[in-house]
């Protein structure tokens, strides 16, 4: 427990004493939501208007998915930076196991994701009157936590495997572009071409965002959501197993 708290203390110190990082972690998705969501709704209306759902309500799940994805990439970047400057290797000689080290990192990631989600959902309800289904808040919490963990493990693999800074940045940027746009984050998939829809349905970010959307505003077929949630859990477990293996092989 003490080792876990030490990792949390370290991560907290780094994040909370760097305002730019904190801004990106906590407020960037919120501003995206308030600016992009509201403007899209004002300009184009809602793709789910027939269901009485405006664009900001539709986009809330997308923003939560983006936030978890973004926090995970920031943490993974931190991982990469730590290894690049050597402190990562020094930390591996500290009195803790490698599993405790990884667990501490992911717990911090989850706390940040939950804080960010609470801020975004709270202000979405208060300022934009998003009709969030309060009875589904436990499901929303599980989706936020599960999503942030899954993405953290996924990006940790690349942060641990890739040795070159330029390559790591390129990989993260490509992932950002592909995962975010080939998903249900910004738009519903139904009206899109078949090939695009098929690709997006294989994207774990689509599974994550669909679960978040079901948990926030209740849109989505429950059976399909269950299937997507199960697929995301499998994705997260596989990423976890591979990340631990990669960490244990760090020499």
């Amino acid at each position: 427990m003490a080792a876990l708290l030490a990792v949390l203390y370290r991560e907290g110190k780094i994040r909370f004493t760097n305002l730019v990082w904190m801004f990106f972690d906590l407020f960037y998705p919120l501003l995206y939501f308030l600016l992009f969501g509201v403007m899209m709704d004002y300009t184009f209306g809602s793709p789910l208007a027939a269901l009485g759902v405006d664009y900001t309500a539709f986009f809330l799940a997308g923003v939560l998915g983006m936030a978890g994805f973004g926090i995970a990439t920031n943490t993974a970047w931190g991982f990469f930076f730590d290894r690049d400057n050597g402190i990562f290797y020094e930390m591996l000689t500290y009195p803790m196991s490698r599993a405790q080290f990884l667990l501490g990192k992911v717990v911090f990631n989850l706390l940040l994701a939950v804080a960010q989600a609470a801020l975004t959902v709270g202000l979405g309800v208060l300022l934009l009157h998003v009709p969030v289904k309060l009875e589904r808040l436990p499901l929303l919490l599980a989706a936020v936590v599960g999503g942030a963990a899954g993405w953290f493990f996924f990006f940790a693999i690349f942060a641990l495997k890739i040795r070159r800074n330029d390559l790591f940045n390129t990989v993260v940027n490509v992932f950002y572009f592909v995962f975010l746009f080939a998903s249900s984050m910004f738009y519903p998939l139904e009206p899109l071409p078949g090939w695009f829809r098929a690709a997006a349905q294989l994207n774990p970010l689509t599974w994550h965002v669909d679960v978040l959307r079901f948990a926030t505003i209740g849109v989505g077929d429950p059976w399909r959501i269950l299937l997507e949630a199960a697929a995301f859990v499998v994705f997260s477990l596989a990423a976890f197993a591979y990340a631990v293996r990669t960490l244990q092989r760090q020499e």
Binding site: A2, A3, L5, A6, Y9, R10, K13, I14, T17, N18, W21, F81, N85, G86, I87, Y89, E90, M91, L92, T93, Y94, P95, M96, S97, E251
Partner: protein, 321 residues
């Protein structure tokens, strides 16, 4: 010596790095090393670049798993009980490793936290350590804004925050100014006197000569020589260090030096430093011959330094082959 008296016990240790896919051959970075280090000793691991020193240190600090053999730190096996080993050690790695996004003070406090030091005690120690390392004026600056030398200070200062019984230092003095380096060497002696075991690698041989109670010279993953400075000097009997200062460097000096086939030679301004391996009388004859080349202001003939011994020992196998 019983194992209980040993801080480190290494037996037939081997580390082989596999060949990279389709390129080169496997590398035996550590090749059957066996040695023990007593508690409270300052132990120096010396060797040229690529000798295997850092690999050996990485195995002893649980960063690397050995291919075969055993290594124990205060009785704890580095493979079977890595966490127990980590509880007993602190390490300064070769790279300049510090928490870049934290202040100098927070670096020390965070390190203390990982070693289970209470917050009040950590703050007290941080103040003392920062004073020792002249870091107090920089205490609240982020390490990323400090120079390379200050970053190294922060990194080395961390091991003085805790009381782990074994300290590993991989080229700790890199980037340190001579005054601070001298002070840190003093602190290390104090730590050893209080019972901590210090294991260090260095390329600065005068540093090892001054600091280490026991020295192991390694090359190509193997032990080349082992002992205290006196024992190592005995291994190199017949090796002399000569320093001559001329009023003007003689024109034929380089040709004459080449004829003497010195172990090592260094010319700076009007001063010639060389190491010769020969009988005492012959050395004096050669010194006289050199002295006749010009007007000599100063001559010193002494026993070999650790640097000469090091070069002589490492040249041995090459010369034989």
């Amino acid at each position: 010596m019983s194992q209980d008296e040993n801080a480190l016990q290494v037996e037939e240790l081997v580390k082989v790095y596999p060949a990279k896919a389709g390129r080169g051959a496997p590398v035996r970075a550590v090749d059957g090393m066996s040695f023990a280090v007593r508690r409270g000793e300052i132990f120096g691991l010396l060797g040229p670049n690529g000798a295997g020193k850092t690999t050996l240190l990485k195995i002893l600090t649980t960063l690397l798993r050995p291919t075969s053999g055993r290594a124990r730190v205060l009785g704890c096996d580095v493979v079977a009980q890595p966490l127990e080993v980590r509880r007993r050690i602190s390490m300064v790695i070769q790279e300049s490793a510090a928490e870049m996004f934290l202040t100098a003070r927070d670096n020390l406090l965070t390190y203390a936290r990982f070693h289970y030091l209470a917050a009040a005690e950590a703050r007290r120690r941080a103040a003392v350590v920062m004073e020792k390392f002249h870091l107090t004026p920089e205490a609240d600056r982020k390490v990323q804004d400090l120079s390379g030398g200050f970053r190294r200070r922060v990194q080395v200062a961390k091991v003085f925050m805790v009381d782990t019984p074994v300290v590993f230092l991989d080229e700790f003095s890199t980037g340190m100014d001579p005054i601070l380096k001298r002070a840190v060497m003093g602190y290390l002696r104090e730590e050893a006197a209080s019972g901590r075991t210090i294991v260090l690698t260095t390329q600065v041989l005068s540093e090892a000569e001054e600091l280490c109670d026991d020295i192991l010279i390694m090359n190509q993953g193997k032990e080349v020589a082992r002992g205290d400075l006196y024992a190592l000097k005995l291994l190199s009997r017949g090796l002399y260090e000569i320093t001559m200062t001329f009023d003007q460097l003689p024109a034929r000096i380089e040709a004459e030096l080449a004829r003497l086939q010195p172990v090592r030679v260094h010319i700076e301004d009007n001063t010639v430093e060389l190491a010769l391996k020969a009988e005492e009388a012959e050395v004096l004859e050669r010194v006289s011959a050199l002295a006749r080349l010009g007007h000599v202001l100063k001559v010193e003939v002494s026993g070999a330094s650790l640097e000469d011994i090091f070069i002589e020992l490492l040249r041995g196998p090459e010369a034989k082959s």
